[in-house]
C-alpha cells in the first residue's frame, strides 16, 4: 500500500524526470523546489536530498538556493500563512503597527509558526493591492483596509473557523 508520502515523492520524481529532459536541466532547480513546496507545504531536508540525488545537483547548492529565496519555507507552516504586505503603500498606511500587534498577539516573530501550528507570520513585498492598503494575505485571499484592531478580529475569526 502506498502512503501519502510516497505518492508525493512519486509526483516529485515524475516532475524531475520531465525536467531532466530539458536542456540545462540543472537550471530547473528553482522550479523543482516550487513543485516540492507545492506538494509538501515546505521543503523538508530529505526531500531536498532526494532532489540532490535525482537531479545530480550538490546538496549544498540546493540548500544554498532554498535558503536564499524567501518564498521557500524551510520549516512546516501553519494552517494559515499570514503574509502582511510591507510594501510602501501599506507601510505608509500603518502596516508596521499591524505587524507589531500581530507579533504580540501570536507571540511569534516574522518567519515563525505558532505553537498550535495554526498561523505562520510572514512579511510580503508589495502584493499589488495598494488601493486597499494596508493588506494582509491569508493563504490565497487578500484582506484590505485593515487596522490593528480589525486584524486581530480577523485572526480571532480564523481561529474560531479552524476549530
Amino acid at each position: 500500500m502506498k502512503t501519502k508520502q510516497d505518492e508525493k515523492m512519486n509526483l516529485l520524481e515524475e516532475y524531475m524526470q520531465e525536467m531532466k529532459k530539458q536542456p540545462y536541466a540543472e537550471s530547473q532547480l528553482i522550479g523543482i523546489l516550487h513543485k516540492a513546496q507545492e506538494l509538501y507545504g515546505y521543503l523538508p531536508e530529505d526531500v531536498m536530498e532526494a532532489i540532490a540525488y535525482g537531479m545530480n545537483i550538490p546538496a549544498a547548492r540546493i540548500w544554498g538556493v532554498a535558503s536564499f529565496y524567501h518564498y521557500f519555507n524551510l520549516e512546516p507552516v501553519g494552517k494559515y500563512t499570514l503574509s502582511l504586505c510591507l510594501g510602501t503603500a501599506c507601510y505608509v498606511k500603518g502596516a508596521g503597527k499591524i505587524l507589531d500587534r500581530m507579533r504580540e498577539y501570536l507571540n511569534v516573530d516574522v518567519g515563525q509558526t505558532t505553537e498550535d501550528r495554526l498561523f505562520t507570520l510572514q512579511e510580503a513585498r508589495c502584493l499589488g493591492a495598494c488601493g486597499l492598503a494596508p493588506v494582509l494575505m491569508v493563504n490565497d485571499r487578500i484582506y484590505g483596509k485593515l487596522t490593528p484592531d480589525s486584524t486581530i478580529e480577523l485572526l480571532d475569526k480564523l481561529k474560531k473557523d479552524a476549530k
Partner: protein
Amino acid sequence: MKNPLEIIKVKRAEAINRILGRGYFSTKRVYVGMATCEIAAGSADVMEIFQTAIKNGLVDVYLSQKGCAGRCNLEPTVEVIEEGKIPVKYGLVDAGRAHEIIERHLKKGEVIEEWVIQ
C-alpha cells in the same frame, strides 16, 4: 503562399467572428475588472453576480472580464458600454451595487450617476 501580414488579417477576422459569436453585438456590454487588485477588492463576487443574472435570464448583455485600468482606490470597477453612448464606468462596485446595476442600468437603462467614475 500567404505572407505573415495576410495570415494575421485572416486570423483577426476569425477572432472577431468568434467574439461576435459570443454575443458582442448585445445592446449592453459589461466588463468586470479581474486583476489581482480588483479581485482583492471583491470583484470575483461581483463577476459571479453578473454571471448568475445572465444564467437566470438577463438577456442582451455581453459579459467579459478585463484587466486593471489603474484606478486603484475605486476598485472593483465595472464598465457598461452601449454603442453610441459614452461608456459608463462604475467604481467601488460591491455585491449590492452589482445587483442595482443589473436592476437599474442593465434592465431599465438608468445610469446610476453617483457611482460613476468621472
